[in-house]
Amino acid sequence: MGNFTQAFLIVIGINVMLWLGQFAMLEVNPTATNFLDEKGNLFGKVDSGNYELNETDPYGMLPKGKSAIDPDTGNIFTDIFNSIKDWFADNTGARYLIAIISAPYNFLKAMHLPQEFVFVVGTMWYLVTILIGILMIWGRDT
């Protein structure tokens, strides 16, 4: 199994345990600290509200293309560049995968750990995961 898939599995596993832990704490004590919200983690992308999945449109998670450039506003050259960049990000699913880069940093921040510790661990994860992503794009993932 490739390194990027392993990193993704680790982030999913951490997501699962933090969510379950939070539900358990809130059941034991309804006034407990609500430390995890849906921002900055992968579960927020599939939650259609009230912790339910969208069973009628599961394809909503697949990448979508960007709408047409508006020639009346903005610079035509930067609009073309942005459109190409967004097209790659959306149609190859890169925007979705990039979310795993920021996930551990958001977890550690949610738990109110010291800022310096969060920065150091988050940076380590960022650098390693971005390197793995680049290697994967170039076909060098081992």
Partner: protein, 90 residues
């Protein structure tokens, strides 16, 4: 101290450690968690098996003592990584 039975044996133990040793409920509970992990290390039990005892304890403690969120959260991250390792890859 509303979340444990102070008249029981272990409840009295926690109360006495709190009053006479640490002076803080957070440090008392941290001490208990560290002791559990050390017992596993001493008896050569993998730390993963200590999760069976420590995880429910941490969930209840973190639910009532908000300061324990850092310790409980880090332990939950550790368990999440263990689950990913065992389910996904060797």
């Amino acid at each position: 101290m509303v979340f444990f039975n102070e008249s029981g044996t272990f409840g009295q133990l926690i109360s006495y450690i709190n009053v006479n040793v640490t002076g803080s409920l957070f440090l008392t509970l941290l001490f208990i968690v560290i002791m559990l992990i050390m017992i596993c290390a001493l008896f050569r039990i993998p730390i993963e098996f200590s999760a069976i005892f420590i995880l429910p304890l941490l969930i209840v403690i973190t639910a009532y003592v908000g300061d324990f969120l850092a310790v409980g959260g880090v332990f939950l991250i550790f368990i999440g990584i263990l689950i990913a390792k065992n389910l996904g890859f060797k």
